[in-house]
């Protein structure tokens, strides 16, 4: 174990030296630059259907901020389905699908509103009961269409 810890320490120093030798540019991960939120303007999707989340009634500043959803491009929009304090969309958009702007709001047959994105992805916020915390919390949910159709189901029972 001691050898491993020593080796790890050497590696830490080596990496630090490498980063320093390569200059500051080497330490900047593409796409990881701080995305300072721009002016908090609520997006109005072009094809939005009537939705409670778009109601623009005056409310206390703190409550208004809590109901705005931080998007990966730094802008904010209204949270859906009555959610507040939902996690930023960027946490769950994934790294392999480029960010795509919101183009509308659609409601599924379960009564849940979703943002539709230009690339065919969907995202939403939803208040759920957390059994571990014994209270309601907002979730952030994303659905990307898969690049290929699913294979055919098994033609016989699975057991």
């Amino acid at each position: 174990m001691r050898d491993f810890v020593l080796a790890l320490g050497i590696a830490l120093v080596a990496v630090l030296a490498l980063v320093l030798l390569r200059g500051t540019d080497a330490a900047v991960v593409p796409g990881s630059e701080p995305s300072a939120p721009r002016t908090d303007s609520v997006l109005v999707p072009s094809q939005a259907q009537p939705a409670e989340a778009q109601v623009a009634t005056p409310e206390p500043a703190a409550r208004a901020a809590a109901s705005l959803w931080l998007l990966p491009d730094g802008t904010r929009t209204a949270m859906l389905n009555g959610a507040t304090d939902a996690p930023p969309l960027g946490e769950y958009w994934g790294t392999t699908v480029p960010w795509s702007p919101i183009v509308g709001i659609e409601r599924n047959d379960q009564g849940v509103d979703w943002y539709r994105h230009q690339n065919g992805s969907y995202s939403t916020t939803q208040v759920v009961w957390r059994s571990d915390l014994q209270r309601h919390m907002a979730m952030t949910r994303v659905a990307h269409p898969a690049p290929a159709a699913a294979p055919a189901p098994a033609a016989r029972p699975d057991r």
Binding site: M1, R2, D3, F4, A7, L8, G9, A11, L12, A14, V15, V19, A27, V28, V29, P30, S32, P34, P37, L70, A86, P87, P88, E91, Y92, W93, G94, T95, T96, R107, N108, D109, Q110, V112, W114, Y122, Q126, V128, W129, R130, D132, M137, M139, T140, R141, V142, A143, H144, P145, A146, P147, A148, A149, A150, P151, A152, P153, A154, D158, R159
Partner: protein, 368 residues
Amino acid sequence: MRAPILPAAFFALLGPVAVAQVNPFVLYPQDPERQGLTCTSFVGRPDWNRAAEAHVSFRSDVLRGIGDANGTTRLFGVYHWLADEKLSTSETYSLVVRSTDALGQPSTGQAGELLRINGLSSPPSTSTARGTWIMYDGFGLQGGLWLLQGNGLWSVGVDLPANPLWPATDGHSLFRADLLNANTGATYGENHRAGAPNPTWALPATAAPFSTPWTYVLGPFVTTPNLHLGGIDPTSNRLGAPGASFGMNGSYPDVGGTPRSDGLAVRVTDNLAPAGFVFLAWGGGFGTPYYDSQYAPNLIGFCHLGAPGPNIRTVGLFQLQNGVREVTLRAPGSIPPALVGSTIVFQGVVLDPVLWLGNWTNAQAARF
């Protein structure tokens, strides 16, 4: 942001962060985030079209340290590929995290639930065709599920309601890769050695649990880097594409030489430090979890390498590119059959050159 070492209340004060991502930990032959899933056998449900929970559990004899938050575990959501036979009707489901026994069998009933979230559904669609959604159901980095050590092992599951229309005209199912002994006629799927245990479980609503011989594209979101071992078997087309098979083949490679003599590869992925430096090591088995306080607080997680004795060897240092790096450890034919019956465990540290923060990956055993 790597959150584990401070309480959630602290992060509530920080507000939005610049780099905030999660890693889905999925045991599957290919990387669902970065590769086409040519290895998929079928889409399937845990108990045909009856109501049941589909669970993936991570046995402690092959995997440890997933979501390690310095001794506890933090899960930040659930990732799965939702196959829908008719996209225009939304599918409903629940998320369930359960405690398990040492063999990975989930505890049943409400008492076995560490978390349940009901009332989730798939997005709207006007298409009546079959299709697939890659679902990211996120709790948030400030709202993760904390699992104390006392909870022991755990499994992550999706609870599917009964759907008599599946698979004919509608219904929710999961992508799966069948084990060689599944007897389902699958051309593609897992490629483990003989004797590998079933890695997933079905918890029917009205019957006893049973294990299922396949892996799912299903797993928790964590902020720890992922380490997966892969088997390299050039005689097999179970992957449907060239490369190493990073599901069951990694934990159960066939090196017996009659006739297979698999090679071994390792893949490290990390969306949080996509250009991170990986320091990789192996040991002759799992050891007592070890926290290296001399690097605290710049090193998160526990070392699980160790037994027998201080038998830890370094493998090397390499850098992630766009969040992933795959390295061949041993070419096919180069692992001696004399190792049959032995175990080697691999684990690494990913050093984030931006935040100057290290994080242990999970540890995974190759059980020859």
